[in-house]
């Protein structure tokens, strides 16, 4: 077995342990209402066990990280797979830190899945070790990327606690306008999480099935001499095509129950590399998420939020509010240092300017501005509780767009981090 295999195995083990620890936390909280036991004692026992498994999972991931560093010869944060696994690791670390302070098993029910989803998302991307291009060959890669991910991990905990606060406080009985709006908001947030889950599941299901659809796309390009030329490009889909690439013909497709070919064509105004494929994946994930959400609703017969709420009964909303805020307050300086200050120093060394309004830079700034608005609203205008929790949720959406969306949709100088 090569070191690479060993390393990857440790990641799989970590993922499995995290899943176990999630189940452990659920039992710790839900099981406390089971008869024939002392609720506090049960919660403490299972909580401790689940936390132990979390730490074990984290150590296993640390082994993955270190071994990968050794055989890759550079810190494994240089492509999407590596960065996302690292972000997952940082989220788990931030959770561990907060658990040690507050010791609330309930937090595990939200923070651990956040880490798991990020890790699962990471594993969608190719696991291969890729050599470093000259632009990334710098000590600043370590400092910039790790600190930025560290800050973002705390934002993730802020998001999880904010969402918990909302789930805890949303009124599922009242019929006032604001209560209904809140319910819809919470359900939508949960739906978005389900879309991500659906996307990951789709990728793995169809990868396991070996699905592939190939298209030939005609593209008009301009040569250096200024003449236009039509070239044909092969486009591969690994998910069932609902939308084929703009101006393309299906060449071959793995037979799929009932589906003979693409149903629609991607509109021409989607631009950029793999626009058709990305759009198709987006639509498919949204639909699958909807399906998943519908199934859950059918199964549970009430809003998902209403199902989760009782789990949180023991949690003091003020504590959740404070966890969310503290997490963001801890993450903010780390993020500023890693994603802005050190990014600027590196950009000054590598790209000859400390700031160039590259989309990734702009989005890091947008994230920073958003969280500084959050802090101002909280500290000077007294936005606590609900308002502040919504901001924490929205803030993390911006973080995720900065990390993933920019690479998929906008690209720019940081495009090597994409796939």
């Amino acid at each position: 077995m090569t070191l690479q295999n060993v390393s990857n195995t440790f990641l799989v083990i970590a993922l499995a342990l995290y899943t176990l620890s999630f189940i452990g936390f659920v039992i710790a909280v839900a099981g406390s209402k089971w008869s024939n036991r002392d609720p506090e004692n049960h919660k403490q026992k299972w909580g401790r066990l689940a936390f132990g498994v979390t730490v074990a999972g984290w150590l296993s991931q640390l082994v993955f990280f270190i071994t990968r560093w050794i055989y890759a010869g550079h810190i494994p944060v240089s492509n999407m797979f590596e960065f996302m696994t690292f972000l997952g690791m940082m989220i788990m670390l931030a959770f561990i830190v907060f658990y040690l302070i507050y010791r609330k098993p309930v937090t595990g029910i939200f923070a651990v899945p956040a880490g798991i989803v990020i890790l699962a998302y990471a594993s969608v991307f190719p696991w291969d070790v890729q050599p470093l291009i000259p632009a990334l060959n710098s000590h600043w890669l370590k400092i910039h990327v790790t600190l930025a991910a560290g800050g973002e991990a705390f934002f993730a905990i802020g998001f999880a606690a904010g969402l918990m606060y909302l789930l805890r406080t949303v009124d599922f009985q009242s019929n006032t306008k604001s209560a209904r709006r809140e319910r819809r908001g919470v359900e939508f947030t949960l739906y978005v999480v389900l879309v991500v889950v659906a996307f990951i599941s789709l990728v793995f299901i169809f990868r396991a099935a070996g699905f592939e659809a190939v298209f030939l796309q005609e593209e008009i390009v301009e040569t250096e001499e200024g003449e236009t030329q039509v070239i044909e490009k092969e486009v591969r889909y690994t998910l069932p095509p609902i939308f084929k690439p703009y101006n393309s013909e299906l060449v071959s497709m793995t037979p799929l129950y009932g589906l003979k070919g693409p149903l629609f064509e991607t509109p021409s105004f989607f631009q950029g590399v793999g626009a058709g494929r990305k759009w198709n994946t987006f639509v498919l994930s949204t639909l699958a998420g909807l399906l998943l959400y519908g199934l859950l609703r059918l199964l549970l017969r009430k809003p998902i939020g209403a199902v989760i709420q009782p789990v949180l009964k023991d949690m003091d909303p003020d504590d959740l509010d404070e966890i969310s805020y503290r997490s963001i307050a801890i993450g903010f300086p780390i993020f500023t240092l890693g994603a802005l200050v050190f990014a600027m120093i590196w950009a000054h060394i590598a790209w000859s300017r400390f700031w160039g309004w590259d989309p990734k830079e702009v989005w890091a700034l947008i994230t920073w501005l958003f969280y500084s608005a959050y802090l101002h609203l909280r500290l000077s205008r007294g936005w606590h509780g609900k308002k502040s929790s919504w901001l924490a949720v929205i803030g993390f959406v911006i973080v995720m767009f900065t990390l993933i969306g920019v690479n998929l949709v906008i690209a720019g100088l940081h495009s090597y981090a994409g796939v």
């Binding site: 302070i101 507050y102 190719p126 291969d128 070790v129 890729q130 050599p131 291009i133 000259p134 632009a135 060959n137 710098s138 600043w140 105004f269 631009q271 003091d316 003020d318 504590d319 404070e322 805020y325 503290r326 307050a329 801890i330 903010f332 300086p333 500023t336 240092l337 200050v341 600027m344 120093i345 000054h348 060394i349 590598a350 790209w351 000859s352 300017r353 400390f354 700031w355 309004w357 989309p359 702009v362 989005w363 700034l365 947008i366 501005l369 958003f370 500084s372 608005a373 101002h376 609203l377 500290l379 000077s380 205008r381 007294g382 920019v406 906008i410 720019g412």
Partner: protein, 560 residues
């Protein structure tokens, strides 16, 4: 109407003060059972004044946090819009007016027409940043001075209402009011409590049956330090390109072996050698190998920096006198830096070019060698002595070709050099003309041998071998930067970071205790991490055998 702003404790407060600056008694009517608003300790902000004139209004506008947050949100949204489509500076050589319409349709056209294609250089975006900066300065000034004054003169014994309306409150009847020694017992208890708190790094004052403990007050200055840092950063970042002589951004291309002056300076750069390396197949990932990707490993310019010390200006006839100052291998991530000048590896081009060749003059028929001489391609010497012969270079075409049947040079680059010699010496007293093409393909293409035969040249000029040919393979493109504002930018960033850490990783905690006839009343305030404060107080109280659940410290007056 003149408002009475004098508190019952005798302190004269400024207009609009919420909490008495001395004893903390609320000065405005607060709904019953509500917690106190402790921001800025209830002091009057500077901008809040009666009968504002225009200046006051402007000042008031910028001093509002609400306005600041709006400005942040607007900046954020505009910055977002700027990333919708590529900015103009990301593509070179295309007409932006056409680019946006062709690539992004009508929306792109509108985007371009509205000026979003140059969002970040536009006057309105920079203006927005300055509004933000103004708000930063005014907001800070407006709050920091009153806050400073309020925190500087704090009374130890606070008003009961002040304490009862804190978020953390503890009440306990400790001593019997009828006890004769109640005052002494109170003081004794307070001294003990003070000692416990001192061990937790509190600064404690005890007087008049009351106690005030405070720690990490400096964290309250964090936000203002951040703002100072930000304003330095912002001004430095925006002004540095405007101040003459502070900023330079040039691109120069240097071929291997060439020296070029860095425009606008007395420095020269030589490209001794450019190296480009690619990863070997076995270093690539399987997917990359399959796709046949070529991944660069290294771009490096072996550079030498010279400074001109004499004959440097354009009016000087002499060759500039250069002194070597620095050798550095310029790579991506490893720029050359000297005297504020930075040279970055930016790009390269494969431009193979003959630099010089060592050739041999021979007798065409016998093959007898007369000797060797060197031919340059850049600026060849005009006469050579080889054995008994004198060679005069009568024509030199760096890029030989025919135009209307006449020999011409098509460019000044030695792409197809051709030399025409007039050779005099034994046997050729009147001079023989001989043409020489160093590149084998040119020899064939332009039929060198037939030309020489027709000219009646008895000679043969030949390169001795490949080792006698000197090539320049690459041209390196360097980005030359001077950015004298950078230190100031970094200073701003560092100050901002210090403020950020001060303000977020420490919390200003205050604990007040007062006794009224044996009745203990404790109130506490922090700017964040109430959980930690409650834990701390519960622990401190436990030290005096008062055992309580930290949660019970939460003031129950307002529980929604």
């Amino acid at each position: 109407m003149i408002e009475n702003t004098k508190c019952e404790c005798g302190h004269q407060n400024p207009v609009d003060t919420v909490l008495c600056e001395a004893c903390g008694k609320p000065l405005v009517e607060i709904a019953d059972k509500e917690l106190l608003e402790m921001r800025y300790d209830g002091v009057a902000r500077r901008s809040q004044r009666k009968n504002p004139n225009l200046l006051d209004r402007i000042w008031g506008f910028f001093s509002s946090v609400k306005v600041a947050v709006y400005l942040i949100i607007i900046t954020l949204c505009v910055a977002m819009l700027g990333t919708l489509y590529p900015q103009e500076n990301t593509f070179i050589g295309l007409d932006p007016a056409q680019y946006y319409e062709e690539n992004h349709g009508t929306l792109g056209k509108i985007y371009y027409m509205l000026g979003f294609s140059r969002t970040y250089e536009s006057w309105w975006f920079i203006g927005l940043l300055f509004l933000l900066g103004t708000s930063l300065v005014v907001c800070s000034l407006d709050r920091v001075i009153p806050l400073y004054r309020a925190l500087k003169r704090q009374q130890v014994r606070k008003h009961t209402q002040f304490l009862e309306r804190q978020k953390v409150v503890y009440k306990d009847k400790l001593f019997d009011a009828h006890d004769e020694k109640v005052k002494e017992r109170e003081m004794e208890w307070l001294e003990q409590f003070a000692n416990i708190l001192r061990k937790k790094f509190y600064k404690v004052q005890v007087e008049n049956s009351a106690l005030m403990a405070e720690k990490y007050r400096f964290s309250r200055w964090g936000p203002y330090v951040i703002h100072i840092g930000l304003i330095i950063f912002l001004v430095a970042a925006l002004l540095r390109t405007v101040i003459p002589g502070w900023y330079m951004d040039e691109y120069i291309s240097i071929m291997e072996g060439d020296i070029k002056q860095i425009p606008g300076t007395n420095y020269y750069l030589k490209n001794e050698k450019f190296t480009v390396e690619f990863y070997e197949q076995d270093e690539l990932s399987p997917a990359q190998r399959e796709e046949g990707r070529i991944i660069p490993k290294l771009f490096e310019t072996r550079a030498v920096l010279y400074e001109c010390v004499r004959h440097c200006d354009d009016e000087s006839l002499e060759e500039p006198v250069l002194i070597e100052r620095l050798r550095h291998d310029i790579r991506v991530n490893e720029p050359l830096e000297y005297d504020g000048i930075m040279a970055y590896q930016f790009d390269y081009e494969f431009t193979p070019q003959l630099r010089s060749i060592r050739v041999e003059l021979k007798d065409h028929t016998t093959g007898e060698s007369f000797g060797f001489f060197d031919l340059e391609t850049d600026n060849p010497a005009e006469s050579y002595t080889v054995g008994p012969y004198e060679l005069t270079l009568i024509h030199y075409y760096p890029d030989f070709g025919y135009e209307n049947g006449k020999p011409v040079t098509k460019s000044s680059k030695p792409n197809a050099p051709a030399y025409v010699f007039s050779i005099t010496g034994p046997g050729v007293e009147d001079g023989a003309v001989h043409m020489y093409f160093p590149r084998p393909e040119d020899k064939v293409r332009f039929a060198q041998d037939r030309i020489n035969e027709a000219a009646g040249s008895p000679f043969l000029i030949e390169a001795a071998g490949m080792e006698d040919v000197e090539f320049a393979l690459y041209t390196t493109f360097l980005n030359i930067r001077v950015d004298k504002g950078m230190p100031l930018v970094w200073v701003g960033a560092v100050i901002g970071m210090i403020g950020l850490v001060m303000g977020t990783y420490w919390q200003h905690r205050r604990i007040w205790v007062r006794f009224d006839e044996g009745q203990l009343l404790l109130g506490a305030h922090t700017n964040k991490n109430w959980y930690g404060l409650r834990q701390e107080i519960a622990k401190a109280l436990a030290g005096l055998d008062i055992r309580i659940d930290p949660k019970s410290l939460i003031n129950e007056v307002k529980r929604s």
